[in-house]
C-alpha cells in the first residue's frame, strides 16, 4: 500500500510532460489549467475558478538545458532557466494562466519574460504585503486577490461566488490538515516516514487535483501506521533554505542516508504557508488574505519586522521539531535564502544549535560531498549529545 502511493507520487514527480495535467484536461472538457511559481499563491482561487492548479518547479536533474541558458547568465540560480526550458519545449503549453508570486527579483522578472514570450497566456505578478500593520496588509492583499480572481474568472469563464470559494477553501483546509498530519507523523516517527517519500507526496500535490492528493495522502498515512519500522540511531535535523528551487531527490536521500532524520524542512513550502485553517465565515477573499497575514510561518521571502523573532526563529523551529541541529541547504545564487542565512545561523548558534551549510542547484548531479558533510554532521551531533549527557 505504502509503496503503491509512493510509486504514484514518484511517477508524477518524474513526469516532465505533465501527463496527469493533460489527462485531467481531457477528462474535463472546457476546463483549463493554471500554473503558479514558488513559494505561495492561494490555490483556492484557481480551484474555485475551475482551473487545475499546477505548481511549476524546474525539471530538476532530469532535464537537459538547451534553450534556458540563452535567457540567463551563469550567476543566476538554476530554476528559471529550467522553467524556461520546460516552457520553450512546449511542456507548459497547456497552461492558460501563470501566477508569479513575490518570492524574489528573479521570479518577479520571469513574469515579464512570460508576458513577452507567451502573450496569449494570462500572467500576473502577485505582490504580497510586507508591512507589519495587519489591517493595512490585509486590505492590500485582499484587493490583490480580488483583482486576480476577477481576471482569472474571465480566463476560465467562471467567476466563483462566495459559496464556491468557501467550498474550495474547505478542500484546501483539508489538504493543509493532511499535510500537517504528514509532518507531525514524521516529526514523531521519522523512521516510519522517510523525507524522500514525504517530499514526493508534496510534489504530487502540485500537479494533481487536490482531492486526489488528499485521498492518496490519507492512504499513505494509514499505510505508515500499519507498517512500523525500527528507529535508528540517527540525528534529528532541520533542513532550512530550500523553499523555492527544490533540491534534487538525491540530495534529500543523501542527507537521510548519511544518518540524519529530517524533522522539519522548507521543501514545497507553499503547501504549509498558511499555518492555520482559513476561516469559513464572513467574506472568503478577506478570509484568504487574513490567513496569509496571520500566518505563523517565518520565511525568508517575507520581511521580518521583529528582530527578536528573527533571532529566535531557528530555535523555535528546532524546539518544535525536537531537532538537534540545522542544515542550511540553499540553492546557489538564491538571494532570499543566502541573505537570510547569516542572521538565521547566528540565532541558531546563539541557541546552542550546531549548524552546517551547503549550496545546491536542482540539477546537482554529484552527492558525495553532501553525504560526507551530512554524515560528519550527524556523527558530531551524536558526540555533542553524548558529551552533554
Amino acid at each position: 500500500m505504502r509503496s503503491a502511493v509512493v510509486e504514484w507520487a514518484r511517477e508524477l514527480y518524474e513526469d516532465l510532460d505533465f501527463s496527469a495535467v493533460h489527462r485531467w484536461l481531457n477528462d474535463n472538457p472546457g476546463s483549463k489549467a493554471a500554473g503558479y511559481l514558488p513559494v505561495y499563491v492561494p490555490r483556492e482561487i484557481l480551484h474555485a475558478c475551475g482551473f487545475l492548479p499546477v505548481g511549476i518547479h524546474g525539471g530538476g536533474d532530469r532535464l537537459e538545458i538547451i534553450r534556458g541558458d540563452a535567457f540567463y547568465q551563469s550567476y543566476i540560480c538554476h530554476l528559471p532557466r529550467s522553467i524556461i526550458e520546460l516552457a520553450q519545449s512546449g511542456r507548459l503549453d497547456m497552461l492558460s494562466a501563470v501566477l508569479f508570486p513575490s518570492t524574489c527579483d528573479v521570479i518577479r522578472n520571469l513574469s515579464g519574460i512570460w508576458k513577452l514570450l507567451y502573450p496569449d497566456v494570462y500572467v500576473r505578478y502577485i505582490d504580497v504585503p510586507q508591512v507589519s500593520d495587519p489591517e493595512t496588509a490585509t486590505t492590500f492583499y485582499e484587493a490583490e486577490l480580488r483583482h486576480v480572481m476577477r481576471d482569472l474568472g474571465e480566463v476560465s469563464g467562471h467567476v466563483p461566488d462566495d459559496a464556491e470559494l468557501f467550498q474550495s477553501i474547505a478542500v484546501y483546509n483539508e489538504m493543509r490538515t493532511v499535510v500537517r498530519e504528514l509532518y507531525a507523523t514524521r516529526r514523531e516517527r521519522p523512521w516510519d516516514l522517510p523525507t524522500e517519500e514525504l517530499y514526493l507526496l508534496l510534489r504530487a500535490c502540485e500537479v494533481v487535483p487536490v482531492d486526489e492528493f488528499i485521498v492518496q495522502a490519507r492512504r499513505y498515512l494509514a499505510a505508515v501506521d500499519s507498517d512500523r519500522r525500527r528507529p535508528r540511531d540517527n540525528s534529528r535535523v532541520v533542513v532550512a533554505g530550500a523553499f523555492c528551487e527544490q533540491p534534487p531527490l538525491g540530495l534529500i536521500k543523501s542527507i537521510e542516508r548519511a544518518g540524519c532524520y529530517v524533522v522539519d524542512d522548507d521543501f514545497v513550502l507553499g503547501t504549509r504557508f498558511l499555518t492555520a485553517d482559513v476561516s469559513l465565515a464572513g467574506d472568503p477573499v478577506h478570509a484568504l488574505a487574513d490567513a496569509f497575514v496571520q500566518t505563523e510561518l517565518r520565511t525568508s521571502v517575507l520581511y521580518e519586522g521583529d528582530s527578536l523573532r528573527k533571532r529566535r526563529v531557528m530555535k523555535e523551529r528546532a524546539e518544535a521539531a525536537g531537532a538537534e541541529g540545522v542544515i542550511f541547504a540553499a540553492p546557489s545564487f538564491c538571494d532570499p535564502a543566502l541573505l537570510d542565512q547569516p542572521m538565521l545561523r547566528k540565532g541558531a548558534e546563539a541557541a546552542g544549535l550546531p549548524c552546517i551549510a551547503f549550496k545546491y542547484s536542482e540539477n546537482t548531479g554529484q552527492f558525495q560531498q553532501f553525504r560526507e558533510q551530512a554524515g560528519t554532521f550527524a556523527d558530531s551531533l551524536k558526540l555533542w549529545n553524548a558529551g552533554a549527557e
Binding site: I66, R67, A70, S74, S361, N363, G365, Q366
Partner: protein, 423 residues
C-alpha cells in the same frame, strides 16, 4: 608578387595566412602561442611564407616525379628546421649544465645530454626514411616527447637523475621558443635539397621560389592576444569580425558561425557579404571552452586529440551538469569512482560543452543556414557529432560546414581585411 598577411594570435596557437592580391591563399602557418607574442606571430608568419614558397615550387613542378620530389623536399625541410632547433636546444642545455650543476656532476650530465640529443637526431633521421606519419607540428611537442622518453632510458646508465634532465629541458625549451631562430625558407632550403640529393627536376622551381619577392603590402592582426601585437590600431581587427569574414570566404553561404577556441566560444551571425550583424561570447568563466577539454585530458592522462575519438566509442552518454573547469577534476573522479566508463563520461562532457555553445547561439539569434563550425574543437569528432544532433533537434536541417583548415578561419579573415586595406 604582392601579398597580404593575416595573423590570429590565439590562446593556444598562433596562425598566419598569406593571400595573393587576387584573394587566393598562398600559404598558411601555425605555431604554439608562447609568452613572447611577437615571436609567436613571427614564427607563424614565417611558416606561412615557407608554406607559400613550397606552393610556388609545387606550381612549377609539373611532372609527377617532380611532385613527389616536392613532397620529399618538404619533409627534408621540416627535418632541417627540427635539427636546427635541436642543436640550439642542446647548446642551451649544455650551458645550463655549466651554470646549475655542481662541478663534480657536470661531466655525467654533459655526456647524458649529448647522448639523448644524438638519439633524438638518429630517430629523426630514421623517421625521414620511413613513410610519413602524423604528429604535432610543434617542436615543443615532438622534441619534448622524444626527450622524456629517451632521457628516462639514458639517465640510469649515465649516473644522472631523470628529474634533473627534465629540469634542464624545461628551462631551455622555453628559451628556444622565445628567441628568434633562423627557420626561414632561404636558411634551410639548400640543406634540404642537398639531403634529398639535389634533384635536377626541382632546381629551376626552387630557384624561382627563392627569387620570388613576397613582401607583404599590409598585415592585419586578430585573436585573443591581438592587443599585444606590435601593430598600430588600424592593423588590428576583432576576432569576431575576422571569424565572420573568414567563414564567409571559406563557405560563402554562411550565415551563422560558431567558433570554439581554447579560451572562448563565439557565436556569430553574418550577412550575405560576411559582415557581422550580431555576436555573443561566453560569459566571464571559461567553462565550456576548449580549455575545459584540456583540463579533462590532463585529468585523464590523455592527449587532447584522443578525447573525441574515445568519446565516439560511448554507448551510453553520462549526463554532466557542470562544465565548470574548477570542479571538472572532482566531478570526473567521482564519476569514475562510481564505475562510469571513461568513454561515456567523455561523451557527456562533449555534449555539455556543446550545450553551452548552443545557448550562445540562441542568444546571438539562432542557427541560420548555412552554419559553419570553426576553431580547434571543430576538429574533435565527438563535439562535431553533438553539434550536428543539437542543431538538427533545435533548428531543423542545416547545412553544416567544417573546413579541414578551420583553425585558420580567423587568420584568413584578418588577411582579407588586410587585402581591403590595400585595395
Amino acid at each position: 608578387m604582392s601579398c597580404v598577411v593575416g595573423i590570429d594570435l590565439g590562446s593556444t596557437t598562433t596562425k598566419a595566412v598569406v593571400l595573393e592580391e587576387t584573394g587566393a591563399i598562398l600559404g598558411r602557418g601555425i605555431t604554439n602561442s608562447r609568452s613572447n607574442y611577437d615571436l609567436a606571430a613571427a614564427v607563424a608568419r614565417t611558416e606561412a611564407f615557407i608554406n607559400a614558397r613550397f606552393g610556388l615550387i609545387q606550381q612549377r613542378a609539373a611532372s609527377a616525379i617532380a611532385a613527389t620530389a616536392v613532397q620529399k623536399l618538404r619533409r627534408a625541410f621540416v627535418l632541417e628546421q627540427f635539427l636546427h632547433q635541436l642543436r640550439r636546444l642542446e647548446q642551451l642545455m649544455q650551458e645550463e649544465v655549466q651554470r646549475s650543476i655542481p662541478a663534480a656532476l657536470r661531466p655525467a650530465y654533459e655526456r647524458a645530454l649529448e647522448k639523448v640529443c644524438s638519439l633524438i637526431l638518429d630517430e629523426e633521421e630514421d623517421r625521414f626514411t620511413q613513410p610519413p606519419a602524423a604528429r604535432s607540428d610543434f617542436f615543443r611537442d615532438s622534441a619534448g616527447s622524444a626527450f622524456m622518453r629517451l632521457a628516462e632510458e639514458v639517465a640510469g646508465s649515465h649516473g644522472v637523475t631523470f628529474d634533473r634532465l627534465v629540469g634542464l629541458y624545461d628551462k631551455c625549451i622555453i628559451r628556444v621558443e622565445n628567441e628568434p631562430l633562423e627557420l626561414d625558407f632561404r636558411d634551410h632550403i639548400g640543406e634540404a635539397l642537398h639531403r634529398i640529393g639535389d634533384p635536377i627536376e626541382l632546381a629551376g622551381a626552387v630557384d624561382a621560389a627563392v627569387a620570388t619577392d613576397l613582401t607583404p603590402a599590409f598585415t592585419v592582426g586578430t585573436g585573443y592576444g591581438r592587443a599585444r601585437l606590435p601593430f598600430p590600431k588600424e592593423q588590428i581587427r576583432s576576432e569576431i569580425l575576422c571569424h565572420g569574414l573568414g567563414a564567409h570566404a571559406l563557405f560563402p553561404l554562411t550565415r551563422t558561425v560558431l567558433d570554439i577556441g581554447g579560451q572562448d566560444t563565439k557565436a556569430i551571425q553574418v550577412d550575405p557579404d560576411g559582415i557581422v550583424t550580431g555576436f555573443q561570447m561566453n560569459d566571464r568563466c571559461a567553462a565550456g571552452c576548449g580549455r575545459y577539454l584540456g583540463y579533462i585530458a590532463d585529468e585523464m592522462n590523455l592527449g587532447l586529440h584522443e578525447l573525441g575519438p574515445l568519446a565516439e566509442k560511448s554507448t551510453r552518454t553520462v549526463k554532466i551538469n557542470s562544465t565548470c573547469t574548477v570542479f571538472a577534476g572532482a566531478e570526473l573522479r567521482e564519476l569514475l569512482s562510481l564505475g562510469q566508463k571513461r568513454e561515456d563520461i567523455l561523451a557527456g562532457l562533449h555534449r555539455a560543452i556543446v550545450l553551452r555553445a548552443m545557448s550562445l547561439l540562441a542568444r546571438s539569434g539562432g542557427v541560420s543556414d548555412e552554419f559553419t563550425f570553426t576553431g580547434g574543437v571543430a576538429k574533435n569528432p565527438a563535439a562535431v557529432r553533438a553539434i550536428r544532433e543539437l542543431v538538427e533537434e533545435n533548428y531543423g536541417a542545416r547545412q553544416i560546414n567544417i573546413s579541414a583548415d578551420s583553425i585558420y578561419t580567423g587568420a584568413l579573415g584578418a588577411a582579407l581585411f588586410a587585402k581591403r586595406m590595400v585595395s
